[in-house]
């Protein structure tokens, strides 16, 4: 017979719409309106899970959000790793599998869509029960925009239903759970839109993340029923009393045939009466309040061969023991107002003896608590606070406090014996309240038992702090549509299409896609391509897309003064038409960024920054201008995207530039190093700068980004007679390292000063002040052992050094730990120009150690290296004007 526990009538289910689900491969029947849990109850499936550590059989202990035992893996549809069986709406064809407290990620990628919505209201009501509906109606009539979020499929029926009839200005979100309450009226809620549908419309998002900003937040979140712990209270058949009744009233199913009801407040007695009316035989009602000296209590359970409940063991006031056969033990230890959201932003609760519960004490002004969540209703049930009953022969290891974590009274006692007094410590020591339900059923219980163990009153007890999210939120929902290509913007230069067509291999530099190298044929390896590109630049001419370089234009009469304050060297003396290299430091004197500064007119300047640093440097400049020097007439504008920049580099670059800009006098006399000139390239105005990041004769040609590709193609065409070679960032790095030009962020790490880089020459002695100057007079700047930039060459002329390798003195035994380390490799490359691998490194007192021998250690192998000057190639700088 199917659905043996289904009653002939009653419940909100639709009896003419039958459906079938699969649970662990078993086909089970139910009706529309059922949850997975109510179908399990209807079909008398009593063992629904195994506990995580002890492997004990577990069954449903609730009908709702209190559930701590039966989480299932949803296999059908989009799938979901770990959901309470009590909260899954059944549909025909639903497939779920039982879990031992741990879900598993679905193997296929989730193709569902997830959305975000934003809404502003005067009043937000969390919880669409009767109290919530009443407040909503009142607020809406007063003219508020009102939003109700309700976690069930429909609002509660009954008198509340009419409360909202005809009320305007209401937005109602069902199947929606508020998961976090944050400052200033900000609430996050999750709307589940399709998980209850067998065939969700393809255009629907599966879930929505609601970002709600409300002036007033009303928490009508209700209360969660609290269990009582006793030996064997975890066996299938032991269920919260109100939940047992809920199965009857909402789903028309009986959770048992013969019941013992055990409670300590009027609500439990009422539940017993209602269960009896529904046809459940009530074997005993055990009211723990009846005696003042000794309790009539349930102290244990007996089980059948399948591990399910077969009897309750009751201890009478005189100590007599009675075993009462039953298949349902309905337990209620009282009600915990659901105040998780209330405490998210620092709302505090206090223990109320009247309500035998933690009730709201002091919360944020914007938050109001109504209905069952206030605890007033619990006080009306004349409760007694009862958390745990220990029989004379009960084993504390069988009295479970946290069902999901299999944590017991014995665990709690171990924590107390180890000296724990605070519930926060006990929680961490025992793992109680740290499972997926975040202590919904175990937290207050544990506080109660702890106070009992310590012999202190409950008023001394403090609930643990609840933190968002109230229920787990999937990463997919948080990501929404911002994943894959939309996770982060991809920035490309206006010449990007040419690089793609040419087969460039790209690397990410910040958000930029930059060509890494240009294979000459499909199988050419990085090493070979870079060697070829380097050789071309050093012997003839190469071309590189430098558009990603950060560019900031400054305008105003005080730019010179401003730049004098932010760069270590003098900038105000720069003439129009000239370019100067500069280093910026923090107030601590450490290198922040470097680049070039060009003076365009008297009051217009343009500076460049490292590719990854452009936004940070603009922030830095604006901060000083606004907060320290508002009197300076300077305006900063990011123009990185406005310009395409093509670097033409190598001894033949002069001929190439002369070809594309025939009106430009490129002679050494007319156009010197660190100068810029206006030019026309075809019909396009260009700014040409003689800057070199390789040591070779070089020109950087800037045009409006729109014309970037045309410029590139013109240069590429003009360079054909010289075998012009496009090159990428790897070759750029080798070329600059051969000249000892450091890269900020690679060869520096925020603890390196210009002096440490061997660039003391760029730090002005004459300027009265600039950012960082005072720090060079600190004792720290003068101390011995500062790491300084050096070059390294392998003694054998062939061993490749590794970036990040540690430097160790020659002859030190690497097997005797700790091995004293004196520095590390920051950049390492093979060099065609030098005919050997080489590296840049930061080495303690390195400036005075040129010529000495060290070991560069990687993976316990030391390579013997010679310390050199950090400028191994063309140290005299003769190549910058060409050959």
């Amino acid at each position: 017979m199917t659905q043996p526990m289904r009653l002939d009538s009653g419940g909100d289910i639709v009896r003419d719409k039958p459906l079938g689900i699969s649970f662990d491969g078993r086909e089970l029947e139910g009706f529309e309106g059922d949850t997975v849990a109510s179908i399990l109850v209807a079909n008398s499936v009593r063992v629904c899970a195994r506990s995580i550590y002890a492997g004990r059989p577990r069954g449903l202990m609730s009908s709702g959000p209190e559930e701590a035992n039966v989480f299932v893996q949803v296999v059908s549809g989009a799938g979901e790793p770990m959901v309470r069986a009590t909260e899954i709406e059944a549909y025909d064809g639903l497939v779920v599998e039982s879990l031992a407290s741990k879900g598993k990620l679905p193997e296929l990628p989730d193709t569902s869509r997830y959305d975000k919505r934003f809404i502003h209201v005067e009043t937000l009501i969390v919880g669409g029960g009767r109290s919530g509906q009443a407040v909503a109606a009142e607020a809406a009539r007063a003219g508020d925009r009102v939003l109700i979020v309700h976690d069930r499929p429909t609002l509660a029926r009954g008198e509340g239903g009419e409360a909202l009839a005809g009320v305007e200005g209401l937005t109602i979100l069902t199947r929606t759970t508020a998961t976090g309450l944050h400052e200033h009226g900000y609430v996050v809620a999750v709307e589940r839109r399709t998980d209850h549908l067998a065939l969700p419309p393809a255009t629907w998002s599966r879930q929505r993340l609601w970002n709600i900003r409300a002036r007033q937040i009303v928490l009508a979140t209700g209360a969660h029923e609290r269990p009582i712990a006793f030996a064997g209270s975890d066996v299938p058949g032991v269920m919260l009393a109100a939940s047992a009744l809920d199965y009857v009233t909402r789903f028309g199913v009986k959770p048992g045939k013969r019941a013992v009801v055990f409670g300590c407040h009027d609500g439990a007695i009422d539940a017993a009466r209602a269960l009896a009316e529904a046809g459940v035989e009530i074997a005993r009602v055990v009211d723990a309040r009846q005696e003042t000296t000794t309790d009539r209590v349930v102290v244990g359970t007996e089980t059948a061969a399948d591990g399910t409940l077969s009897a309750a063991i009751i201890r009478g006031p005189d100590g007599s023991m009675e075993t009462v056969a039953c298949d349902l033990l309905a337990v209620s230890g009282g009600w915990n107002p659901a105040l998780q959201l209330y405490t998210h932003t620092g709302g505090r609760t206090r223990w109320s003896d009247e309500a035998a519960a933690f009730v709201p004490a002091a919360g944020p002004e914007q938050v109001r608590v109504v209905g069952r969540a206030t605890g007033e209703f619990a006080a009306g049930l004349r409760p007694r606070a009862l958390f745990c009953v220990e029989g004379h022969d009960s084993s504390p290891a069988e009295i479970f406090l946290d069902l999901q974590r299999d944590a017991t009274l014995a665990d709690l006692r171990r924590a107390v014996a180890a000296g724990m007094r605070s519930v926060e410590h006990v929680k961490r020591y025992t793992t109680i309240s740290t499972a997926a339900d975040q202590g919904r059923s175990s937290s207050v219980l544990t506080v109660g038992v702890l106070c009992q163990e310590l012999g202190v009153p409950m008023t001394d007890g403090v609930t643990t702090t609840y933190r968002p999210p109230y229920t787990p939120i999937s990463f997919a929902l948080l990501a929404g549509r911002d994943y894959g290509q939309l996770a982060d913007p991809e920035r490309i230069s206006s010449i990007h299409d040419w690089h793609v067509a040419r087969g460039a291999v790209f690397e990410d530099v910040g958000q930029w896609k930059r060509p890494w190298y240009f294979p000459a044929f499909e199988a050419e390896l990085l090493h070979d391509a870079v060697a070829r590109e380097c050789a071309a630049v050093r012997t003839s001419v190469g071309v590189m897309d430098a558009s990603t370089l950060g560019k900031i234009e400054l305008q105003g009469g005080d730019c010179g003064e401003f730049l004098d304050r932010v760069y270590t060297n003098l900038m105000s003396s720069l003439a129009v038409g000239k370019v100067r290299y500069g280093v910026m430091c923090g107030v601590d004197g450490m290198v922040l960024d470097d680049g070039t500064v060009a003076r365009l007119t008297d009051d217009r300047w343009i500076l460049t920054t490292t590719t990854g640093n452009a936004a940070k440097i603009l922030d830095w400049l604006e901060e000083w201008l606004q907060t320290e020097w508002p009197e300076l007439d300077v305006r900063c504008t990011s123009v990185t995207e406005h310009w395409a920049t093509v670097a033409v580099v190598g001894p033949r670059s002069r001929q190439v530039v002369a070809t594309v800009a025939p009106d430009l006098d490129v002679s050494q006399e007319a156009f010197g190093f660190m100068e810029w000139r206006d030019a026309m390239i075809g019909d396009c105005p260009a700014r040409v700068m003689r800057i070199s990041f390789s040591g070779e004769l070089a020109y950087e040609v800037n045009v409006d980004a729109w014309h970037g590709q045309a410029l590139w193609e013109a240069i590429y065409q003009a360079g054909q007679p010289y075998g012009i070679t496009p090159y990428g960032t790897e070759t750029m790095h080798v070329l600059r390292a051969e000249k000892g030009f450091p890269i900020v962020g690679q060869d520096t790490d925020g603890t390196v000063s210009p002096q440490d880089l061997g660039m003391g020459w760029i730090v002005s002695k004459k300027k009265p002040d600039f950012i960082g100057k005072r720090s060079y007079a600190r004792s720290e700047a003068a101390r011995e052992g500062r790491k300084q930039l050096v070059g390294l060459m392998p003694l054998d002329g062939s061993s490749r050094l590794v970036e990040g390798a540690q430097l160790v003195e020659a002859g030190v035994d690497l097997t005797r730990v700790p091995v004293p380390m004196v520095g590390h490799v920051t950049s390492a490359y093979d060099s065609v120009a030098l005919g050997t691998p080489f590296a840049l490194a930061l080495l303690a007192d390195g400036a005075g150690r040129h010529g000495e021998e060290l070991q560069a250690v990687d993976k316990l192998t030391g390579i013997r290296v010679r310390v050199t000057s950090p400028v191994p190639h063309d140290p005299e700088g003769v190549r910058r004007d060409g050959d």
Binding site: H182, V587, E623, Q626
Partner: protein, 97 residues
Amino acid sequence: MLRMCCPWCGWRDELEFSYGGEAHVAYPANPAELDDAAWSEYIFFRDNTLGWFRERWAHTAGCRMWFNAIRHTVTNEFAAFYRPGDPVPEMPAEVAR
């Protein structure tokens, strides 16, 4: 997510702002005259107040202007938002929660 008022643009979500630490820590008028201890104080040390705190914010994803605010570091309430150069508002009396 906090909600805060840029003195130029009005109320916006925290998302648009970036934090700038303690306010009214001026760049010393003459750094050269400070000894190492005083200079280090300026570079490295900031108050870590429990309670009302004057701090800097920048409307980075908006008008890009810097401003000051008085915030309670426990409750995250704001008591004032003001522009650089404005008269500095009084600290509110501590409210016991």
